[in-house]
């Protein structure tokens, strides 16, 4: 238990951060909710609209396209996890030479600005000029180039793939550092008891990196859903609205239509969407933390 003097000190230390959060996060967020009930132009007087913006968004011809695009795009987080976990498990093996070099190479995509990565992939996948279609055809894997960005299904999976390629090193670094903290003796004991590689992973590795995995999944889910620049560079939200993830719609309303009321309405849908996705992971994380503290 803290004595009253210590409690005051804790409050004093928490105050600047709390004030910062209040002014720069919560007040704008609450103002955003308020704005979503208005037609709020970039310049000019806002007009009260009540729930009209919400109704308009739910009835819009692009609503389900946007939800579908966002749902598929957020799968990128799980693909990132698979790639990152596999890479971290390999890089944690003692026999791998030049580990620093490999780690450096692996994080290149994450070190580059997402827009640049998007532009590179746009070029690599270009049906006329890109290396990917060129080699796929040369090796006989396809007869003619695929026009990835002209077809909604392809376009949605391509933006998901490029997001996976760009952001997996973040997960890789955190999972790898978590793996490196597991004492080698645990594996030796498991081996002595005859555990095979899968059993060692399930019994020794996974429980010890579970918290790290939950943290990176939560962070990346939230980060991915807020990404605008990379999918926008790749497809502009099209064809039609097929790759207009909620964040792109929000950007379009705010900065192309100049309608901040609608932008915040879409933003609040995005917050709700993110919260629904994060809830189970948050719950798992809390449970895991409670177990650790017992």
């Amino acid at each position: 238990m803290l004595d009253p003097q210590e409690r005051k000190l804790v409050i004093l230390f928490l105050l600047p951060t709390s004030l910062f959060m209040l002014l720069l996060l919560w007040l704008p967020f609450i103002q955003g909710i308020w704005m979503s009930f208005h037609m709020w132009p970039f310049m000019g007087e806002p007009q009260w609209r009540g729930l009209d913006n919400y109704g308009k968004f739910l009835r819009a011809d692009y609503f389900w396209d946007a939800i579908k695009a966002t749902a598929i795009y957020c799968l990128s987080t799980f693909f990132q996890l698979l790639v990152a976990l596999a890479a971290a498990l390999v890089m944690n093996q003692p026999f791998i030479p030049f580990k620093s070099l490999w780690r450096g190479i692996m994080i290149v995509s994450y070190a580059m600005p997402p827009v640049v990565v998007g532009a590179i992939w746009l070029f690599l996948l270009d049906p006329g000029l890109g290396m990917v279609p060129h080699y796929l055809m040369q090796f006989g894997l396809m007869d003619e180039p695929i026009y990835w960005f002209s077809d909604g299904v392809w376009a949605r999976w391509i933006i998901t793939f490029v997001a996976t390629w760009t952001f997996w090193p973040f997960m890789f670094l955190i999972i790898l550092s978590s793996l490196q903290s597991i004492p080698r003796e645990y594996y030796e004991v498991a081996e002595m008891y005859g555990a095979n590689i899968l059993q060692r992973f399930m019994v020794v590795t996974l429980p010890r990196i579970k918290t790290a995995i939950l943290i990176v999944v939560i962070l990346r889910l939230a980060f991915n859903l807020a990404k605008i620049e990379q999918p926008f560079t790749l497809t502009g939200g099209g064809p039609g609205y097929d790759t207009s993830v909620l964040s792109i719609l929000m950007y379009r309303f705010a900065f192309m239509s100049g309608d901040f009321g609608m932008a915040f309405t879409v933003g609040l849908f995005l917050v709700a969407f993110t919260a629904i996705l994060l809830l189970p992971f948050g719950w798992l994380y809390q449970r895991s933390m409670r177990r650790h503290s017992l």
């Binding site: 037609m39 132009p41 970039f42 310049m43 007009q47 011809d61 692009y62 049906p127 006329g128 000029l129 026009y147 960005f149 002209s150 077809d151 909604g152 497809t235 502009g236 939200g237 099209g238 064809p239 039609g240 609205y241 207009s244 379009r252 705010a254 900065f255 192309m256 239509s257 100049g258 309608d259």
Partner: protein, 464 residues
């Protein structure tokens, strides 16, 4: 139109005229008072901030911008702080947020239909035009004044000229590869310029028969769907309804018969005639021009701003006439008297505050005058768009690629061209709201249904 498209001037004439004017330009910059009356106020020590956007058109325009700034500083003793911007900066939030936040340039260049959203920050230029512009320059640019008024017709202060064009493009000529025509056995002299869309389809099919798989392209990308050739075809059917909104700025025109026919033809080039590549839904004029440069396309609509790229990438073909600019052509049966839309690049002066506001605004107008000097207008026309000064247009005639002839044929039509409206939401109407529907139409959705849906969105945006 065809009668105006005369190739009587030779390359030699062109070089002679350009050379004379260039020499005049050098002489002028050495002795500024020769052609250019000195400003009444002493501008020595005055600093103006200039936001340049046109530098993104190509490297040569950026260099020309730098040269003009230097010449202006030399002539007046004023200093120009230039910041280089992109289209996205003015279309997107950067300019608006900066101006609202009090970060203002003294002068900036722009695309005319994008300045409506910034109009409340701009200073009317009528008094400057009246009192500070020499007679010759005023006469050369006054043809633009009624069009400026037309494009701002929805504003209460439409009589105020707030954006004064120095450069322009008529959208959109077609770049043609003469060597492809010859390879396909098409008599170039008889078939150039392209007469109408039936002729265009016939030529493209012949070119396709000669092995050019996709000889032309229509564009689906957000910035190009309704920014290149489409609106000219609509205009050829109905010159009063080619804009995105009507003259009173109260409703969309997209459900008009001309729009439906124009867009249907645009879609048909891809879906019915199969003359445009499978990438059409996301294709752009820049990428298609690249295909033309590589010899994989024969007729590509592209605005004149791409001329710098062609000069840079295909210098021999530009010099020997392999590359030719064809004026945009009407939709077959289109008799409206015009088949091109005007887009221009104005200079705008931002209202200044403080004790030296008047002096800064005057310096900004002197800077605009520098851009309007004949030699600078001609230099601009050689690397990018056309100059706004009508008396400099002849100097662009006779180039081997025929860009001057194509531009003039599009500008001097029986019904004068007009510019797209400068409504504050014009970016939304032209690109953001239309392109998704455009892409759906290119994917096979019915044209009439999609245009109706688009028009409903525009009408809704106009209500608020």
């Amino acid at each position: 139109m065809t009668a105006k498209f005369s190739r009587a001037q030779t390359r030699r004439d062109f070089l002679k005229k350009s050379g004379t004017l260039a020499a005049l330009g050098i002489a002028t910059s050495l002795t500024p008072d020769l052609l250019f009356a000195a400003p009444k106020s002493d501008l020595k020590g005055v600093t103006i901030d200039y936001w340049n956007m046109i530098g993104v058109q190509n490297k040569m325009v950026r260099r020309l911008s730098t040269d003009i700034i230097k010449a202006f500083e030399q002539r007046t003793g004023a200093t120009v702080n230039v910041s280089w911007n992109s289209y996205g900066d003015i279309v997107g939030p950067k300019y608006r947020t900066n101006l609202i936040g009090g970060i203002k340039p003294t002068v900036f260049d722009a695309c005319a239909r994008w300045t409506g959203q910034l109009r409340s920050f701009l200073r009317p230029l009528n008094d400057f035009i009246e009192n500070k512009l020499d007679e010759q320059t005023r006469t050369a640019i006054e043809w633009t004044f009624p069009i400026i008024k037309q494009q701002n017709s929805g504003f209460d202060d439409a009589d105020d000229i707030m954006d004064l064009p120095f450069g322009l493009i008529a959208q959109a000529p077609a770049v043609v590869r003469r060597d492809h025509f010859e390879r396909a056995g098409i008599d170039f002299e008889k078939n150039f310029p392209i007469r109408d869309t039936d002729h265009y389809i016939q030529l493209c099919k012949e070119l396709q028969g000669a092995g050019i798989k996709y000889p032309t392209e229509v564009y689906g990308k957000i910035w190009d769907f309704a920014d290149t050739q489409l609106n000219g075809w609509i205009r050829s059917l109905d010159a009063a309804n080619d804009d995105f909104i009507d003259a009173t700025w109260s409703h969309s025109t997209a459900t008009s018969e001309a729009w439906i026919k124009g867009v249907q033809f645009y879609v048909d080039v891809f879906r019915k005639h199969k003359l445009s590549s499978p990438q059409t839904v996301q294709s752009s004029d820049e990428a298609s021009l690249e295909e033309l440069i590589k010899g994989r396309k024969s007729i590509v609509h592209a605005d004149l701003l791409n001329r710098g790229t062609l000069l840079n990438r295909l210098p021999d073909e530009m010099a020997d006439g392999t590359i030719q600019w064809s004026p945009h052509f009407p939709l077959s049966g289109g008799t409206s008297g015009s088949h091109a839309c005007l887009a221009w690049f104005p200079m705008c002066i931002v209202k200044q505050e403080g004790p030296d506001a008047a002096l800064k605004e005057e310096a900004a107008f002197e800077f605009i005058k520098e851009w309007l000097l004949p030699e600078n207008q001609i230099a601009y026309a050689q690397v990018s768009g056309f100059g706004a000064r009508r008396d400099t247009w002849d100097a662009s005639m006779g180039a081997p690629d025929g860009y001057g002839e194509a531009m003039i044929a599009m500008l001097e039509t029986p019904t004068p061209p007009r510019a797209w409206s400068n409504h504050p939401k014009s970016v939304d109407f032209q690109y953001n709201l239309l392109a998704p529907h455009g892409q759906k139409m290119l994917q096979g959705a019915p044209v009439e249904t999609e245009l109706k849906a688009y028009a409903a969105k525009v009408d809704e945006a106009l209500q608020v």
